[in-house]
């Protein structure tokens, strides 16, 4: 590159950097604002001007959320249902993805198109059916009721299928020559060869399930059965809205997911890229 060209790209790079930083600030500010406000006194929160730092930092809202609400149960419910959704979704999708990718059986193609098609249907469209079904089954206000309709994640199947498709067929053939059973090929060759995908998919599925709101909101009416995303909407009482309290419980609700993001940053990015590549 000529020096002039280099300078041009440098300028372009600088402009892009500035734009990204501005975007990041715009995106991050509400989060910062929410966290900071949760440490403010209630009357500080409602002051009409921007204060970037609490005047009298306080933990009382956190204390309130932790002691005066059922946040413990909500956490518990969220952990149980999100784990349940993750384990069940990943393990079933794994089997379906493997079958469609590796086994030859009648109706394989039809099944595959069905899965692709189901991927086009937003869950919101089905939510009434889900509600009626789950209600008829008597599963409202139960973990099973929260979990079942959330097991539909065609994208996980699709990602698995694509990864299994990419495993060179010689591995399968070598394993067949090695007397491995179909289940052996799956569990000893295909899954271990694709651990990265499994971890990535587990993490995003967990985050989706943890963040789920609409369905758990419909499926649960009893406070002690609520997941944390639903529960925090209950942190107001008859005397009106307490912003700082709500924000404190929201921070508590988001904390595990934020932690997961931080711990598994690379895997999460990878998983989001994977599923985004398919979601298009």
């Amino acid at each position: 590159m000529t020096p002039a060209a280099t300078r041009r790209t440098n300028i372009a790079g600088a402009i892009i950097t500035v734009i990204t930083v501005i975007a990041a600030v715009i995106w991050a500010f509400p989060i910062y604002w929410g966290i900071v406000s949760s440490f403010k006194l209630e009357d500080e929160v409602v002051r009409p001007y921007i204060e970037l730092w609490p005047e009298h930092p306080t933990l009382r809202h956190y204390w309130f959320a932790l002691t005066q609400t059922q946040i413990g149960s909500w956490y518990m419910n969220s952990v149980a249902t999100a784990l349940g959704v993750t384990v069940l979704t990943v393990s079933t999708s794994l089997l379906v993805g493997y079958a469609i990718s590796q086994l030859r059986f009648p109706g394989r193609r039809a099944l595959w198109y069905l899965i692709l098609a189901s991927f086009m249907v937003p869950t919101q469209v089905l939510i009434i059916n889900h509600f009626v079904l789950i209600a008829n089954m008597g599963l409202l206000n139960t973990w099973a009721g929260i979990i079942l309709p959330q097991l539909i994640h065609p994208v996980v199947i699709i990602v698995y299928k694509q990864f299994f498709d990419q495993v060179p067929k010689e591995f399968r053939e070598a394993a067949v020559m090695d007397n491995a059973s179909e289940l052996g090929i799956l569990t000893k060759i295909y899954i271990p060869m694709n651990w990265g995908v499994t971890t990535a998919l587990s993490i995003v599925t967990f985050i989706w399930a943890w963040n789920a709101f609409l369905w758990p909101f419909l499926a649960v009416t009893r406070t002690e059965m609520m997941t944390i995303t639903v529960g925090i909407t209950q942190v107001s009482d008859a005397f009106g809205v307490y912003y700082a309290r709500q924000l404190a419980s929201a921070v508590l609700a988001g904390f595990p997911v934020a932690l997961a993001y931080l711990l598994f940053q690379r895997r999460v990015t990878q998983a989001i890229t994977l599923s985004a590549g398919i979601k298009g």
């Binding site: 060179p168 010689e170 591995f171 053939e173 070598a174 394993a175 067949v176 020559m177 090695d178 007397n179 491995a180 059973s181 052996g184 000893k188 060759i189 271990p192 060869m193 651990w195």
Partner: protein, 357 residues
């Protein structure tokens, strides 16, 4: 260890019949090479023996046992894949043990077999590594080790050396030959490289277009190619082919080449007429004395111990001739060529071969 027999086997992919009614036998302990150009059906045939492709019709006998309907794992054969297919998440040791664990062998016996194989292949130091920590040659060795531990009736190799660099390929080829001598196992080896075939094989099965062109020892297929195809495929540099008009009387024949030169030979062909005359470069000598024809040298390849002289006869036909190591011939020179008529072959229009005495 056992002999392998294919009896009238056929195979179709969809509507296309790729293997048509093939029969042959591999003797116990024999090293047989399937040689042929790309798409000639070598891999398909090997995979049919392995069980990775089904056999539509015909029988496959391994050690006298009918195997065409058995699962691959039941056939008592081991396969070495071109890309090795080593399980990347397992150590070398586990790679070798995998197949043995699947048949429920005791860990103690497995350990003994793995140790044996490691000793034979001199790779004790590699046992706890992952495939990604091995060089290409070492991976190749592990792939062979994985086959050895099974103590199979036969080893099947599908182009096992094609992923190695030239020097390593030569070395591994020699090691394979030594391995075959040491464990005296039946081996079937697929390659499109005729040097590999010539150096390794007890017998070569030459395939073309999914048919067997010839089965024979390396020397047989080299000296007495059964067809025009075999003649052209085996040998490097390849055989020279010239159009010739043959007039024949009994065992004697006279060939007239395109440039008008004539030569007499002892050969039995049914009729006179147009044939293709084949002769290997080493049977065409550059001479200062009397010759059969003359040509103009176009390219001179000095190989040190010998010189390949590419010539053009005056009718435009190319002929490669052999000269000694310190050849003085330069491109553009006119050279006299003498054909060793005892090493001539004639091919009729159907590709059938006739050999001179």
């Amino acid at each position: 260890m056992a002999d392998i027999a294919l009896q009238n086997v056929s195979k179709s992919f969809g509507a296309v019949e790729v293997i048509k009614d093939i029969s042959f036998q591999v003797k116990q302990g024999e090293f047989v090479v399937f040689l042929g150009p790309s798409g000639s059906g070598k891999s398909t045939l090997l995979r049919m023996i392995a069980g990775l492709e089904s056999i539509d019709r015909g029988k496959l006998l391994i050690g006298g046992r009918e195997c065409q309907a058995l699962a691959p794992g039941q056939r008592d054969v081991a396969m070495v894949f071109q890309n090795y297919a080593l399980y990347p998440h397992m150590t070398v040791r586990d790679n070798m043990a995998f197949g043995l664990r699947n048949i429920g062998m005791k860990e103690k016996d497995i350990a003994a077999r793995v140790a044996d194989a490691a000793r034979i292949l001199e790779m004790d130091a590699l046992l706890d590594r992952r495939p990604s920590q091995l060089s290409g040659g070492q991976r190749q060795r592990v792939a062979i080790g994985r086959a050895i531990v099974k103590e199979p009736a036969a080893f099947l190799f599908d182009e096992p050396l094609s992923n190695l660099d030239a020097a390593l390929r030569v070395r591994t080829r020699v090691e394979l030959a030594q391995l075959h001598q040491r464990i005296a196992a039946t081996m079937i080896y697929v390659t499109h490289d005729q040097t590999e075939a010539m150096t390794l094989a007890d017998r070569i099965v030459i395939l073309n277009d999914c048919r067997i062109e010839q089965i024979g020892t390396p020397l047989e297929v080299y000296t007495y190619p059964a067809s025009r195809f075999v003649a052209g495929f085996v040998g490097s540099p390849g055989m020279n082919f010239l159009d010739a008009e043959i007039s024949t009387s009994g065992k004697e024949a006279v060939a007239t080449l395109g440039d008008g030169s004539r030569m007499a030979m002892t050969i039995s062909v049914p009729d006179g007429g147009a044939y293709e005359l084949g002769i290997r470069p080493e049977a065409v000598q550059v001479t200062t004395g009397r010759g059969d024809t003359t040509g103009e040298a176009t390219v001179v390849e000095n190989l040190g111990d010998r010189t390949l002289v590419h010539t053009r006869l005056n009718d435009g036909t190319s002929v490669i001739a052999l000269d000694g190591g310190r050849s003085q011939i330069a491109p553009g020179d006119t050279v006299t060529l003498r054909f060793d008529t005892s090493q001539l072959h004639l091919f009729d229009s159907a590709g059938r071969a006739y050999h001179a005495d």
